[in-house]
């Protein structure tokens, strides 16, 4: 936001300048001498604070901001001890609604214009502004036009007093009884950094935390206020088992035994192909990894899909060269193919808008229907739904990017579920075929941790770490004890097979195909056709209600772990409250089931899962729990230390990993040192030497029995191919390799 110089608290003395310029609007110049604590300045600061307070109601005990109020802090630091104002303060009606979510207490407003500037400059929704003059100046929305911005909650967070209030948080807690944990919001796949706060073991608030490469401190209202469901009354708190046609509450061992028993039976009678796993995009990477290992390594089925027929093929998402959000700021051009970002990935919209409007990056709006970015687009090229972007647009975008210098960022997702993904895929292929342009794709899939789930192999034909079944077969067989023989079915295929009675056990990992799959009829027939459904969910959704075994899982705010956002950035999510009931982490459920199926994952803590991912999944090599915890901005996979491990090839776009393909790790160049000033986190090198994980001294949950023959660590691991520099590769056992061709035709 541009400085406005309204509050006048920061008046200072500058040598050679008459009077008292405000520090916020005075650019620093060479040799400037600024005095901030002279007698004259202190008198003015005190005077200005007195002015700010004369009409401020001082109802701090009632105010939601009381205790975390910048005005209180300023008053303590610089303010007068008492007021000389004996007249009546100005009065207005106490909070008036600006929208369904935002309340405004005009008495408390100090007219700093933060909210109006945010609404206009950052969100592009100039729905509030000042009215009236003098000390009756007040912020208001326009008549008959509520402040219905997708980002209105940010104004509450940046309001320096308790003037703007969230109806959601009103009187819920006081700042001093809040406990805070830094986490990432997983409502959509942007993963804005936030601070989740709880009071008395209830999550009451989510605040945006400034993460430069991602959200700049902003959150969307969907993420900010969509947190109440964690403690919803209809959370399923205990495991359930269908007994005599009815779901009945049972103990965990009973439920797990029932699920494992059925799986074992089906495995024996029908083989692994009769078992399918749907979902997994809402959990952490650890959850996804454990379930991928259970499904592919233990059960041996490849009928696994974390998308619900509404995304893009995993080959595309994992195979193309990916952009970081920051690439948009320095891009030569941005092409938006996918859905309306404001609807699906709202904070990405803020970043795209900023790039297009404030940084002057030419933006091509190629969505089939008009979107929120159109006003800021340099070119609007509507495409026919179901058809790829025209060659002229591709050419123009490429030319623009070439002329301006900088990458061409393609934001790609599914514009709508009514449209097959082919059009988007072919559009990406068209951009990928360009010469002399650095094309990077920013996936705009919307499901919370869908990118993490895809990377962890919850997709047909893939194994953790962006490798295909064939490429990773040997590597993972050694570690997991086996991988599926061939490529399995995706969500559509699974449901179709289920409808035909070929699926005997369907595991729903937080998936609700009845409501979520584009073809609801197919989903219904599928669920009717499956004899045994295992639901791992927090709610009794329409599909989960059909379950034979219901295993309640923990949700965001109750679980620790890592998540991966749409640019491949791994960040930590933090547990702030104890789980409802006896809900268990998904990864723990998976490892319990695995144990009952005869495989010991030997994972006791979530950090151990993270470390196993870091050791096993090629693209995530080196992203250990310790590293992710240390990295302020998260880490973007793959780490530069581990370049050369993956080769990505798509038709027309064939780039070696050493050159930065399949990933994005600007500003750190492949094989080179990080340029000065590069954010430390994204390039923080993982330890190069692989340390043997120390065996913890404490007792394991369970005695290790036969499992030692299955756990990869027990047997001497084959030397994994490592690349020491950008060009020299070691010869050695099979290198995990993604070799896919875009399904262009």
């Amino acid at each position: 936001m541009k400085p406005v110089g309204m509050c006048r608290m920061c008046l200072v003395e500058v040598e050679g300048v008459r009077g008292f310029p405000p520090a916020c609007t005075t650019p620093v110049t060479d040799g400037m001498v600024v005095r901030t604590r002279t007698d004259a300045v202190e008198k003015i600061q005190e005077g200005v604070l007195e002015f700010l307070l004369i009409n401020h109601p001082l109802d701090c005990p009632v105010c939601d901001r009381g205790g975390e109020c910048p005005l209180q802090d300023q008053t303590l630091a610089f303010g007068p001890g008492e007021s000389r104002f004996v007249e009546e303060k100005r009065h207005y009606e106490k909070p008036i609604p600006l929208s369904n979510m935002i309340l405004l207490d005009r008495e408390r407003c100090i007219q700093c214009a933060r909210c109006t500037r945010f609404a206009e400059e950052i969100a592009g929704d100039p729905l509030i502004d000042f009215v009236s003059r003098g000390d009756r100046t007040q912020v208001l929305n326009f008549a008959e036009q509520p402040f219905e911005s997708y980002f209105s909650g940010n104004t509450v967070q940046i309001c320096p007093v308790g003037a703007l209030l969230a109806r959601h948080y009103r009187f819920k807690a006081r700042p001093w009884d809040l406990a805070t944990a830094e986490t990432s919001c997983t409502t959509c796949s942007v993963h804005c950094r936030g601070a989740v706060q709880s009071s008395s073991n209830r999550i009451v608030r989510l605040l945006g935390v400034d993460l430069d490469p991602v959200n700049h401190g902003w959150l969307c209202d969907k993420g900010r206020y969509g947190i109440d469901w964690v403690h919803a009354d209809d959370r399923v708190r205990e495991p359930h088992l269908r007994v005599g046609g009815e779901l009945r509450e049972v103990s965990w061992p009973e439920a797990l035994d029932a699920a494992a028993g059925e799986i074992r039976k089906v495995l024996r009678m029908h083989g692994p192909g009769a078992i399918a796993v749907l979902g997994g995009a809402r959990g952490t990477n650890e959850d996804a990894y454990a379930w991928a290992r259970l499904a592919k390594g233990v059960i041996g089925t490849d009928h696994v899909d974390c998308q619900m027929g509404d995304g893009l093929p995993a080959e595309v998402v994992l195979g193309v060269r990916r952009a970081e959000i920051d690439d948009c700021d320095r891009a030569g051009a941005i092409v938006v193919l996918g859905p309306d970002p404001r609807e699906e990935v709202p904070v990405l919209f803020l970043r795209l808008r900023r790039a297009a409007k404030d940084l002057g990056v030419p933006l091509f709006d190629c969505t089939p229907v008009g979107g929120s970015l159109a006003p800021y687009a340099a070119h609007v090229a509507r495409r026919v739904p179901g058809e790829p972007v025209g060659a002229d647009v591709v050419e123009l975008a490429a030319r623009t990017a070439r002329e301006r210098g900088g990458p061409l960022v393609v934001v790609a997702g599914r514009p709508s579920v009514a449209e097959a993904p082919d059009a988007t895929v072919r559009s990406i292929a068209a951009f990928g075929a360009l010469d002399g342009v650095d094309v990077r794709v920013l996936s705009a899939l919307r499901r919370g941790n869908v990118h993490g789930a895809l990377e962890m192999g919850l997709a047909p034909g893939f194994l953790p770490g962006r490798v295909t079944l064939d490429a990773g077969r040997e590597w993972f067989t050694q570690r997991w004890g086996g991988v599926p023989a061939g490529r399995g079915l995706d969500a559509d295929g699974i449901l179709r097979a289920a409808a035909e009675g070929r699926v005997h056990v369907l595991v729903l990992l937080g998936a609700d195909p009845l409501l979520d799959h584009p073809d609801a009829l197919l989903a219904r027939r599928a669920l009717e056709g499956v004899p045994f459904v295992v639901a791992v969910d927090a709610f009794r959704s329409e599909s989960a209600a059909r379950a034979d075994v219901f295993l309640p899982c923990t949700v965001w705010g109750e679980q620790n772990g890592t998540v991966t956002n749409l640019e491949g950035r791994v960040q930590r999510v933090a547990r702030r409250v104890a789980p409802e009931g006896t809900a268990m982490d998904d990864w723990r459920i998976a490892s319990e089931l695995a144990y009952r199926l005869g495989a010991d994952f030997d994972l006791a803590t979530v950090d151990e899962v993270t470390d196993e991912i870091a050791a096993v999944a090629p693209a995530a090599l080196g992203a250990t729990a310790a590293l992710v915890r240390r990295a302020r901005d998260g880490v973007v996979l793959p780490l530069r230390e581990h370049l050369g491990e993956i080769v990505v090839r798509t038709r027309g776009l064939s780039i070696l990993a050493e050159e930065g393909a399949g990933t994005s790790w600007d500003p750190i160049r492949a094989g080179g040192a990080a340029p000065a000033g590069a954010p430390a986190a994204s390039g923080e090198p993982a330890p190069r030497t692989r340390r043997r994980r120390p065996v913890p001294a404490r007792t394991r949950r369970r005695p290790r029995t036969r499992s030692s023959t299955r756990t990869p660590r027990a047997s001497a691991p084959p030397t994994r191919p490592r690349c020491t520099s950008g060009t020299v590769r070691q010869a050695g056992p099979p290198r995990p390799r993604v070799t896919r061709t875009l399904c262009a035709s």
């Binding site: 006048r8 008292f20 002015f51 100090i110 003059r133 003098g134 000390d135 100046t137």
Partner: protein, 433 residues
């Protein structure tokens, strides 16, 4: 007492009271003659030079040399705009209104000459919204000027294009401040902008912009006609030429008087305006509009010359917009100060905290004091609050903690109370306390 008006800018409207605003009347008394001549000569720099020689200073209030203002325009950056400040909102000032209503062609000619001098092809007139008649006559005058070829494409065959847009304000005093005026013209809420960048560098629509007052521009044709040096012979010291003074208050003949600068306040009040009603004594007068500090009815003050620099340096007051408000000895200075504060509290745009909250506070305190509810400490309180808006207000040169001078304006009357009527005010609050 024998001073006469020296009518230059107001000559035509006095000569032809019946039709001075029409194109025929104006042409008959010599309008656009200078404009033709300027175009014929075709030398913008010469016009600028004449203005520089004339020593013309802005008639809007600040008294900044016009030629110098023009010289701040950055070289070679076009388009640039001329904005005419016709938002005459200063209480008791009514000279621009007369000029717009009764001699709009003189203003149009001035705009044309100024535009030509600075190389601007589009001028804006920001006219106070309440000037209904002025708006009517000015738009008519512009239409007539255009149909006579004085404006529009290729003016009088010179190849110079010029158009004038008239915009009516919506009643905010702050829009008389040049950056707030520009904001308002752009369609934003009228609030002053932070400087730098100055309007001359980045003004209207982020283009180089000159903002001049109506009277300043109306003087231009006469300067060019007389020659700058000749004009500079009028007046006194650095206050050259003539100015229109709006005399109001307890005088027998209130009105606009154009006098040569250098005559005294006594000439103005007792000569031209006919003295005080009922032949009472002057208690105090406000020499330059509501934002100026006051002077008293003492001989020293009355005999002070109308010289911007002299009164500024000697008494710390400004001639401002040339509005002289005279109060006789029946006046309660506290009430006057309160009424002025009420005006400023109402008109504060709400941008800077000291002005937004301070003017309202001062108004409330003054109301109490003027209505028998004052406390002994109130005058010192007022003074300290004023000092937080405008530090060092008594010991000129004072500074300000606000962006524009509106906030400090309210402090002027407090400083005057403090300086001239301290005992009277103290007696009032002491008794009622």
């Amino acid at each position: 007492m024998s001073v006469e008006e020296r009518r230059i800018v107001t000559r035509r409207l006095h000569e032809r009271p019946e039709d001075s605003w029409t194109i025929d009347g104006a042409l008959a008394s010599g309008a656009y003659r200078v404009w033709r001549e300027v175009l014929r000569t075709g030398d913008p720099a010469a016009v600028q030079e004449q203005v520089r020689l004339s020593g013309l200073r802005g008639r809007g209030g600040a008294g900044f040399p016009t030629a110098q203002k023009w010289s701040f325009l950055p070289e070679g950056r076009y388009p640039r705009y001329l904005v005419v400040n016709g938002d005459e909102g200063e209480p008791s000032t009514f000279k621009d209104r007369m000029l717009v209503e009764r001699d709009p062609h003189q203003l149009v000619e001035g705009i044309a000459i100024a535009s030509y001098a600075i190389g601007c092809n589009l001028a804006f007139v920001y006219l106070r919204g309440e000037f209904a008649l002025g708006y009517e006559r000015l738009t008519q005058a512009i239409a007539d000027a255009r149909s006579h070829g004085f404006l529009g494409r290729d003016v009088l065959g010179s190849g110079f294009d010029l158009d004038v847009v008239v915009h009516r304000g919506a009643g905010a005093y702050i829009c008389g401040e040049e950056t707030a005026l520009i904001e308002s013209l752009e369609g934003e809420r009228g609030m002053p902008r932070i400087r730098p960048p100055f309007p001359a560098v980045e003004g209207l629509y982020a283009k180089p912009t000159v903002v001049n007052n109506v009277e300043t521009l109306s003087t231009l044709p006469h300067i060019v006609e007389m020659g700058g040096e000749e004009y500079a012979k009028l007046g006194v010291n650095r206050s050259t030429g003539t100015r229109i003074f709006s005399v109001s208050g307890h005088v027998k003949r209130p009105g606009n008087y154009e006098v040569e600068l250098g005559v005294t306040f006594r000439d103005l009040v007792f000569g031209l305006a006919g003295g005080i009603r009922d032949d009472r004594a002057v208690k105090f007068f406000i020499p330059g509009g509501a934002s100026s500090q006051w002077l008293t009815g003492s001989d020293e003050h009355l005999d002070a010359p109308l010289d911007m620099d002299f009164v500024q340096q000697t008494y710390g007051v400004m001639l401002g917009s040339g509005a002289v408000m005279v109060f006789d000895d029946t006046t309660d200075p506290l009430l006057v100060a309160w009424r002025l504060a009420k005006f400023f509290a109402h008109e504060s745009c709400g941008k800077c905290t000291p002005c937004r909250e301070g003017t309202g506070w001062i108004e409330k305190v003054l109301y109490r004091m003027a209505h028998g509810m004052g406390r002994p400490e109130d005058l010192d309180l007022l003074f300290d609050v004023g000092d937080n808006i405008s530090p060092g207000v008594v010991n000129a040169p004072f500074t300000q903690t606000t962006i524009c001078p509106l906030g400090p304006s309210v402090v002027s009357s407090i400083a005057s109370l403090h300086r001239y009527f301290r005992d009277e005010v103290q007696a009032r609050v002491g008794v009622s306390a």
